[in-house]
């Protein structure tokens, strides 16, 4: 075997080894190409959210097409306050909405009266009704929690995939109130002016705080002007 033949053989082997690496590289490339793919983050999130609840849209539809069309069943504030003082059990049973196991109940309330005071947190109203002219306080700052969602009695927690979805509805309802109802109230409010209101109140039956009764506003009317 000549030296020349040996060197040719070694050279051929080298080429074969290089080819083998090339084949490996191509195969790895094919595997990687089919294992990983890229897409814009917003597109990915959009795909993930498909089929999931969109809280803002849901809340808007709920507000316009269900809540505002079902306000007529709101109980009179003076009647409710009278019941709270004299017969809490009947108030809870007849007008309260309870989420799960709780001694706090939500009420859809309506009434009319005269504005007696205004401050940074809300509007104080003296209800023009017998027997003892009770007071209510329309919140304009602390629009938190689930008062409106629960008082409506229109939404069932079991219809939602998780409690987080159910709570997200409240966040969006409160946003509508904060952005659309409250500014109008603040603009129109004046001590001495008459006012009609529909709203939601939460009262703990074991420790009722009803002087005044705090109400989250849903619909308010000054004279002939309606805000909701």
């Amino acid at each position: 075997m000549s030296m020349e033949f040996l060197s040719k053989l070694i050279e051929k082997l080298r080429v074969l080894v290089k080819l083998r690496y090339l084949v490996y590289a191509v195969l790895t490339g094919i595997v990687l190409y089919h294992s990983v793919y890229f897409e814009p983050l917003d597109q990915h999130q959009l795909q993930q959210n498909q089929g999931e609840l969109q809280p803002a849209e849901f809340a808007r539809d709920f507000w316009e097409n269900r809540l505002l069309k079902n306000l007529e069943r709101a109980v009179s504030a003076s009647k409710l306050i009278h019941l709270f003082k004299n017969d809490m059990a009947t108030a809870v049973q007849q007008y309260g909405q309870t989420l799960g196991i709780s001694s706090t109940h939500s009420y859809l309330v309506q009434g009319q009266g005269r504005i007696t005071a205004v401050n940074n947190n809300g509007v104080e109203i003296n209800i023009e009704a017998p027997p003892d002219s009770p007071e209510v306080f329309i919140e304009t700052r602390d629009i938190f929690g689930n008062a409106v969602r629960d008082a409506s009695g229109l939404l069932n927690i079991d219809d939602f995939r998780s409690t987080m979805e159910f709570n997200a509805i409240s966040v969006e309802i409160n946003k509508i109130i904060r952005e659309e109802v409250v500014p109008e109230i603040l603009q129109e409010t004046e001590v001495g002016r008459s006012i009609r209101f529909v709203g939601a109140a939460e009262v703990n039956e074991d420790n009722p705080e009803i002087s005044p009764l705090h109400i989250v506003p849903i619909q308010v009317q000054f004279g002939d002007r309606q805000i909701s």
């Binding site: 799960g100 196991i101 709780s102 938190f144 689930n146 927690i157 409690t163 409240s170």
Partner: protein
């Protein structure tokens, strides 16, 4: 003859012993119940709150006439899956379940459902309707109340830190979102750090120590559970800042209720683990007796405990 006699006496004695042991075993089985077997699977027994939840569920199941066994998932979804496999193989009749992960635990509950074993979730939620029912604290509303009190205590201004729980648990986010639904309306209240401490006391202490290095002048800390509140308080005490920085927790654990009474922790949200455990066991009993109509989710109200009303409360509940 004497040898035969002693053998006879010995046999009688052994026989009596065997009968006695048999009676003892029967008595124990009777105490444990003979209506069937209930498994109680808890996310972690490394936190006293969950120990109360698990032990109450076991006791209630026994009181209802079942044999009950407690399983600890050690906050590990794989261990939880292993428990479910063993529980299904062993032929348990129902599972009272405190999941490790809202999404990761779904397949375990589905597997149990396919095997005809009903699951009832306690305190922690799964993102599925695979469980017969889920009895859960109303964490969101509880933290709205806690958030309102937080704002009141800080007069609507200052810098604060939030310690989050396990990121895979819905309770973590329901608490955080309830808190922020209030907080984010006060522009003068600034959150300077938000970090997870996994609902764990030691982790919270370490996280708080490191946050204090960067933000020594904070006014308050909101913790997603009481174990983290105690860890944060420990870090603040070690740094000599326990009197300057307010700590708020969530759970109603023994050490935090005592700390509120002693003026160390400002407030917590009281959950009711005993109530949830008992209700879950009762529902399992009703299910095994043929009832099928259960609400999918049952929120349980959370109550705000402050230094003003702490005398009305004990660890994990209200004074009777």
């Amino acid at each position: 003859m004497a040898k035969k006699l002693s053998l006879l006496v010995l046999s009688i004695l052994i026989g009596m012993l065997v009968v006695a042991c048999g009676n003892q075993a029967k008595q124990e089985a009777g105490q444990a119940g003979n209506k069937g077997r209930i498994a109680v699977v808890i996310s972690t027994l490394n936190n006293p709150w969950f120990v109360v939840l698990g032990e109450t569920a076991v006791q209630e199941a026994r009181d209802l006439g079942y044999q009950a066994t407690l399983f600890d998932s050690q906050n590990d979804n794989a261990k939880e899956t292993e428990h479910f496999e063993n529980i299904l193989a062993a032929g348990y009749d129902a599972i009272l379940f405190n999941p490790t992960d809202a999404d990761g635990s779904v397949s375990n509950v589905e597997k149990a459902g396919k095997a005809g074993v009903p699951t009832f979730c306690m305190d922690r939620e799964i993102n599925s309707d695979a469980a017969v029912s889920q009895i859960l604290s109303d964490n969101y509303t509880g933290c709205v109340e806690l958030g309102r009190y937080f704002v009141e205590q800080l007069n609507g201004e200052g810098e604060y830190v939030e310690l989050l729980g396990l990121v895979g648990d819905n309770n973590t986010w329901n608490r955080s979102r309830g808190f922020h639904s209030v907080m984010d309306n006060y522009p003068d209240l600034k959150m300077v750090a938000q970090q997870t401490a996994d609902f764990d006391r030691n982790t919270a202490m370490e996280v708080m120590e490191s946050i204090l290095q960067a933000h020594p002048d904070i006014d308050a800390v909101f913790c997603g559970n009481d174990a983290m509140a105690m860890g944060a308080y420990q870090a603040l005490a070690a740094a000599g800042k326990a009197d300057e920085i307010m700590v708020f927790g969530f759970d109603g654990a023994k050490d935090v209720v005592e700390s509120i009474g002693a003026g160390k922790i400002v407030a917590t949200g009281m959950q009711f683990p005993r109530l949830m455990a008992r209700e879950a066991a009762r529902m399992a009993d009703q299910y095994l007796n043929g009832q099928r109509d259960f609400p999918e989710k049952i929120p349980v109200a959370v109550e705000l405990v402050t230094q003003d009303n702490v005398s009305q409360y004990v660890a994990y509940g209200k004074k009777q």
